[in-house]
Subunit: 271 residues, 2 copies
């Protein structure tokens, strides 16, 4: 999906919500767990109930890999279902991949050709030749980890170099030479609050994928205040807060309700 | 597998070779490509032909994921085959994972419980709580990226902090507070040559997983000269140089021959 389409979807739906499909088999409602196709059935119901309120879905690969081959099948079916029924949804494979060149090329093939998602999250540690194989696919995006939402983000991402530049700033500055803001986004955790001002100094025009609202405690208002730009430039993700809002038979309605709550707040913030 | 077992296997076999099962479907011999189970059949033949000369196997997940669910099945069968037939082999899932705590926990479950390998490679960018969920599994290992074999390793891994400490040194120093050298190793590329001296200053007793000999041009002699310790402390990996030594019907014999060559050199270096 091209940037203009994504921005148009955000304006039309008055939402920049991304729903995280972290569909942990151990947490989905009991009445589904017995089904052969439990994860897919769960995802399908969640998607149908939330699609009106969001512009993106983000399955995190860990939750599918934990089931081995069966999990991959559920993921493939989920992506296919979204593409066939809600083609205006932006699909992000949250995979945090990154390897030497010939290997990253293979990952790119998996995610952009085989699975055919719009974007993949990539870890920057291995540098340019681990990232660039994901670039150059028409309408596809790399979403590079910059300043993540977890406590461990402080361990290395904030290390200052001799010029006082922190690692996440080095990552953004260097990587913005590899790709334009039409094909690269950055992950910045909602828990980082005022740091979004610093992010906007080095990534003034980039879309940011923002996890950490909800279960992780980040503030949507702060993210919008310090991170929003003219073209919105934000995809704010909530996973557990939406998909596990209820673990009873009403799980899908509850998810829809939570997604709508966030979308209503977003509509206000978009003004 | 415990450290003492690994060291004992290295001494008994006089080899610290790891064979990388980067079994790209597009590169395996033509006569196998038509088979339903092509990747597994290829791996099985390679393993049978090389097991006498190596102490470890390292499937890189990218090559399996590129085939979706089918690839995962091939991976599962491969791991099972090694464990049943050659239980003294150390199996490394080269996955370079790393995510927020609850997600890394899921990855740990996938690799250590479901797939049941001995070790997984992990990317350090997200810090402590992205790494520690992989720790504490008895006899299982985290292999953390430190100084990788690719050109892009220079982009971020060598950035000096205000005290002149480079990022890879920060990664090793900090992470060695999270786990002992009985359950954490580091990835250091064979292409880094003399840098192994610097690595040994911060990781004097750790095992190092060393890719980059062969196709990537690293020198085994240099690695041993600057990186070997009393308990060897090295697992040197070759992938393409062994498994694609021939792409004809003699691929397995050719792989065995290349593995033996490296093992013979290693026997000399072990003295």
């Amino acid at each position: 999906m091209k940037r203009e389409e994504l921005v148009a979807n955000i304006r039309r739906k008055k939402s920049f919500l991304c729903v995280g499909l972290d569909s942990d088999i151990k947490k989905i409602p009991a009445h589904l767990q017995q089904e052969e196709d439990a994860i897919f059935l769960f995802n399908k119901a969640i998607i149908d109930a939330t699609q009106a309120y969001c512009v993106a879905y983000k399955p995190n690969l860990a939750f599918y890999e934990s089931l081995g081959a069966k999990g991959w099948l559920a993921l493939e079916k989920t992506v296919k279902y979204i593409k066939e029924n809600y083609p205006d949804q932006f699909i992000i494979a949250d995979a945090k991949r990154g390897d030497i060149g010939n290997t990253s090329q293979l990952y790119a093939r998996s995610f952009f050709e085989h699975l055919d998602v719009d974007a993949i999250t990539v870890a920057p540690y291995m540098g340019e030749d681990s990232v660039t194989p994901f670039l150059g696919y028409k309408g596809k995006w790399v979403i590079l980890l910059a300043l993540t939402s977890n406590k461990g983000s402080h361990d290395f991402q904030l290390i200052e170099d001799v010029n006082g530049k922190r690692l996440f700033e080095n990552v953004i500055e260097k990587s913005s030479q590899w790709a334009s803001s039409d094909e690269m986004m950055y992950v910045v955790g909602a828990t980082q609050g005022k740091m979004f001002e610093d992010i906007r100094k080095v990534a003034p025009n980039s879309f940011l994928l923002v996890p950490g609202v909800g279960a992780q405690g980040g503030s949507l208002e702060e993210v919008a205040k310090y991170g929003m730009i003219d073209s919105c430039g934000l995809l704010v993700n909530s996973s557990r807060g939406i998909i596990f809002a209820s673990q009873g038979e009403d799980f899908a309605e509850a998810a829809g309700r939570e997604a709508k709550k966030l979308a209503d707040q977003m509509a206000q913030l978009l003004g």
